[in-house]
Symmetry: C3
Subunit: 384 residues, 3 copies
C-alpha cells in the first residue's frame, strides 16, 4: 500500500513520456519564420503566437496560483489544497495535451502551439474545480485517477460542444465551470459519509487562512479577462471578451457585497462571499464574452451572477449537505456550477434577443446539456 502512490505516479509519468514521443512534435517547417515583422502570410502564425503568450501566462497564473490559493481558506487543508492542486495540474496538463490533441487530429501526430498549452491548462482547471468539491475527502492517489478520467471525459465533451454542436463557449462557462462543478458534485455524492453532515472542525477558516485565500481570489479576479479571451478570435472578439469580463467582474463584486451584507443578521460582510462570489461575474461571462456588444449587458450578467452566488452559499450549500447528501467542501457549486449555468443560459437569451436563430439557440442548449450530462455521468462513474 505504501508504494501505490509513488509507483502509480511514476507509471503515469512514463506513460506520458511515451505518448508524447508517439504523438507530439514541434512545428519544424518553414512557416515559423524568424522574421516576425515580415508581412507575408506564413508569419501570421508567429505573430499570433507572440500575441497569445501573455494571455497564456495569465491563465497559467490563475490555474496554478489562483485556484491553489483560493482553496487554502480552510485552516487544515492549506497543504492539501496547495500540494494536490500542483500535482493535479502538472499531470493534467500533460494528459490534457494528449487527450485533446489526439481527438482533434483523429489519432495522428500533432503539432504543439501556445494555444495547445492554453487548452491543456483549461482541461486541468476543470479537474481543479472538481477537486474543490471533494477537498478533504480523497487521497492523492484517488486524485491521480480522477485527473485521468475527468480529463478524458472533459475532452470528449469539449469535442462534442465545439466540433459536433458548433456551439460557442469562448470563456468556457459550460465546458469548464459547469462541467467541473457537476463532475465534482457527482463524485461527492458517491463519496458521501454521514459524518460529513455535521461538518467538522477542519472546515473552519482562521484569520490568516482567509488572507491566503484572498491571494487566490485577487489573482483570479485580475486575470479573468485573459481567461475569457485567450482562445477568442484575434482582434475585435478578443477585445470585446476582455472588456466585457472586466466590467462583469466589477459588477459582480458590488452585488455580491450587497447581498452578503443583506443576508447577515447584523449586516456584516462574509469572507467566503468576498473570496468567491466576486468571481461569479467572470464565470457567468464566459459563454457570451465575445458576443455581447455593449458593456452594460456584461454588467447585468455580472450583477445577476454575484447575487445568485451569494444566495447559493447561504441557502443551497446547507441544503445540498443535509438533504441531497452531497458535501461541497469549497462551495464550488455556487462559484462555478450556478454561474456556469447562467453563462450558458445567457448565450441562449442573447441569441434570442439579437438574431433569434433557433438553430444556434438549440446548439447552445445542447452544449449546456452535454456539459452537465457528461459531467454527472463521468462523476458517478469515477466516484467509486
Amino acid at each position: 500500500m505504501r508504494f501505490t502512490f509513488p509507483l502509480m505516479a511514476i507509471g503515469l509519468e512514463v506513460a506520458m513520456i511515451v505518448l508524447f514521443g508517439l504523438f507530439v512534435q514541434y512545428e519544424m517547417d518553414q512557416n515559423v519564420s524568424q522574421q516576425p515583422n515580415s508581412t507575408k502570410s506564413p508569419t501570421v502564425d508567429v505573430d499570433r503566437y507572440l500575441d497569445l503568450y501573455p494571455l497564456f501566462q495569465d491563465v497559467h497564473v490563475m490555474v496554478f496560483a489562483g485556484i491553489g490559493f483560493l482553496m487554502t481558506f480552510l485552516r487544515k487543508y492549506g497543504f492539501s489544497s496547495m500540494g494536490i492542486n500542483l500535482l493535479i495540474a502538472a499531470l493534467g496538463l500533460q494528459w490534457g495535451t494528449i487527450a485533446q490533441g489526439i481527438l482533434q487530429s483523429h489519432g495522428e501526430k500533432f503539432h504543439i502551439e501556445i494555444k495547445n498549452m492554453i487548452n491543456a491548462d483549461f482541461s486541468t482547471a476543470a479537474v481543479l474545480i472538481s477537486f474543490g468539491v471533494v477537498l478533504g475527502k480523497t487521497s492523492p492517489m484517488q486524485m491521480l485517477t480522477m485527473t485521468i478520467l475527468e480529463i478524458a471525459v472533459f475532452a470528449v465533451n469539449e469535442y462534442l460542444v465545439v466540433e459536433v454542436f458548433g456551439a460557442s463557449d469562448v470563456g468556457a462557462s459550460m465546458t469548464i465551470h459547469a462541467f467541473g462543478a457537476y463532475f465534482g458534485l457527482a463524485v461527492a455524492g458517491i463519496l458521501y459519509r454521514s459524518s460529513l453532515k455535521e461538518g467538522h472542525r477542519n472546515e473552519e477558516s482562521v484569520y490568516h487562512s482567509d488572507l491566503f485565500a484572498m491571494i487566490g481570489t485577487l489573482f483570479l479576479w485580475v486575470f479573468w479577462p485573459s481567461f475569457n479571451s485567450a482562445i477568442a478570435d484575434a482582434g475585435k472578439n478578443q477585445y470585446m471578451a476582455i472588456v466585457n469580463t472586466y466590467f462583469s467582474l466589477a459588477a459582480s463584486v458590488v452585488t455580491a457585497y450587497a447581498c452578503s451584507s443583506l443576508l447577515d443578521s447584523r449586516g456584516k460582510l462574509h469572507m467566503v462571499h468576498i473570496q468567491n462570489a466576486t468571481l461569479a461575474g467572470g464565470v457567468a461571462m464566459g459563454t457570451t464574452a465575445d458576443m455581447a456588444n455593449t458593456p452594460h449587458y456584461a454588467m447585468i450578467i455580472g450583477s445577476i451572477a454575484g447575487v445568485v452566488s451569494v444566495f447559493g452559499f447561504k441557502f443551497l450549500t446547507p441544503f445540498f449537505t443535509t438533504k441531497l447528501r452531497i458535501h461541497d467542501t469549497c462551495g464550488v457549486h455556487n462559484l462555478h456550477g450556478l454561474p456556469g449555468v447562467i453563462g450558458g443560459l445567457a448565450s441562449i437569451v442573447f441569441i434570442a434577443l439579437e438574431t433569434a436563430d433557433t438553430s444556434a439557440m438549440a446548439m447552445q442548449a445542447a452544449a449546456l446539456g452535454s456539459s452537465i450530462g457528461t459531467a454527472l455521468v463521468g462523476g458517478l462513474v469515477t466516484g467509486p
Copy 2:
C-alpha cells in the same frame, strides 16, 4: 440602518448600468480589423491595443492585489483592507470610466478601449491611496460615498492638468499620488477623534501580517515600470519610462534601507520602511518618467525619494498625529504625498535644466498646485 449599505450598493450598481447603457459602446466600425499584421493605417489601433493589454494587466495587478496586500500589515485590519479595497476598486473602475469618458467626450457617447480601462484603474488607485489614510476610521458605506465623490474630483483635476494646463504627468506623481494622499489627509483631518492620538492596539503589525504586506510591496515594486509607462506615447517614450522607473526604484531601495538603519538606535532595519519607502522611487519618477533622458537622473530622483520617505515615517507622521491632529493610518503621506510632490518638483527642475521653457515650468507648477488644491478642498468637503 442595517439595509443602508446593501441598498446603496445595489442602487449604485443599477445607476452604473444605466449610465453605461446611455454612454458607453464598443468600437464597431471598420478600423478594428481582424488582420493585425496588415500594414494599412487603420490597423495601427489594433496593434496599439494589443501592446497595451500586458501593461494594463500589470497595472491591474498593482491596483487590486498590490495596494490591497500592502495595507494588510496592521494585524486587525487585514480583512477591512482586502475587502474594502476590492469593493472600492470594483465600483470605482465603473464610475471612473463614466466620469473620465463623459468629461473627455463633452457629454457624448464614447467608445471604450484598453486605455480607458487603464485610466479607470488609475482613478481607483487615487481612492485606494486615500483609503490608506482613513483605514479603520470609516465604514464600507462611507467608502462608497468617498469613492463617488473623490473620483468626480479626480476626473476634474485630471482634465484641468492634461487638457487645460497641457502639463505632463505620465506616471501621475501629481494627479494620482499627491492627489490621493492629500485628499485622504483632508478627510482624516475632519474625522479626527482625540482617541486616535495615543494610537491603539489595532495599529500593530504581527509577524505574518508583515509578510502579507510584502506581497503587496513586491508586486507593486515589480510592476511599477508598467504603471509609469502605460499611457506614455508608444516607442521611445514608453521605453524610457520603463527603464527610468526600473532604476529609480532600485536606487530608492538602497537609500531607504540605509536611512532605516541610520535612524534606528541599534541600526536595525524597520519593516514599515522596507514595505513603503522602497516604492517611493516609483512614485517620484512618475512625472518625469518619459522626460529623463539619462538613467542616472532617474537614480538620483529615486535616491532622494527613498531618503525623504523614511524621514517622513520617522518624524512627520508622529508630528501629523499629535500636532496637526491628522491621523494617517498607513503613512500614506510618506509613500504617496511627499514623493508625489518630489515628482512634480522634479519635472520643473528638469525643464529648467533642459530647455528653461518658463511657460512649461509654470504649467507643471499649476498642475502640482491644482492636484494638491482640489484634493484638499475635495477632501474637506467629503469628510463630513
Copy 3:
C-alpha cells in the same frame, strides 16, 4: 560600527550613480522609430523590444517575489529573506547592468535596452541563489559585499562562457544556477561554525511559513518558461524554450511527488520537496531549452531532475552538513546545484546524440567547468 551599513549602502549607491553617468545612455538615434507598424528594417528593434517586455516582467516577478517568498519557509527568517532579498536585488541589478555592459562594450559607453534589464535581473538571481545557502549566517553588510564581488565574478564567467567558449546556455542552468549554488556553498564552507551542525530551532518551518513559501514556488513555477526563453532568439527558438520548459516542469512535479512519498517511512509528501524539487525541471531544462526538438525529451530531463532533487534533500544535505562541514540553509544545492549540473550535462549528451560535434561538446563542458570553477574560487575568496 552602527553606521557602517548605512554609510556603505549610500556610498555604493553614489558609486552606481557615477558609473551610470559615465557609461550608460539611452538609444537616442533614429532607429527607435515611433511607428512600430512600419516594415522597414530600423523598426525591427522596436518590435523586438516590445516583445521582450512581457518576458522581462515575468523574470522580474520571479527574481523579486518568487525567490523572496521561496525563502520564507523558515519561520524565523521570513523578514531576513524578504528584506535582504530586495536589497541584494536592487543593488545587484544596478551593478549587474554596469559590470555586464562594460565587459561587453570593452569599457566604452553603452546603450541600455530591455535585454540589459533581463540580464541585470539574471545576475542578481545568481546572488540570491547563493544567499539561500548562507541565509541566517550573514549580516546585511556582508551581503552588500557579496553582491558586489559575486556579480563581478558572474559577469566574467558569463563572458567566458558566451564570448570565449561560444557555449549555449540560454536558460542559464550553468551560468546562474550551478554558479550561484557553488559560489554560495564555497562561502558557507568558509563561514562554517560547529554550532550549525546540530541545526537549530530557527530552521524549522511552521504551517503559515510553508504557505508563504508556496507563493514563491508557484510564481517561479508559472513564469519559468519565460526565464528560459527570455534571451533566446526570437521566433522558433523562443517558442521551443517556452514549450520545453512547460513540460519539463510538469514532469518534475510528478516525479518529485513520487520520490517524496517513496522516501518517507509512512508514504507522506514533504513540503520542502513540494516547494523546491518541483522547480528542478525548470533549472535542468535551462541549457537545452532551445535545442531540444521534441517535448518528450524535455519531460525526460524534468523527470530526472525531480528525482535527483528529492534524493539530494534526503541524503546529500545532511551529508554536507555533518561530513563536509558545509551548511546549506535552504537546500540550494538540491534545487540549483545538482539540476544545474544536469542541465549542463544534458547539453553535452544532446549534442552527442544529434550532431556528435565534438568541438561543441567540449565547449559545453568547458562552460560547465568554468561556471563551477569560478564559482568555487570566487566563493572561497569572498567568504572571509
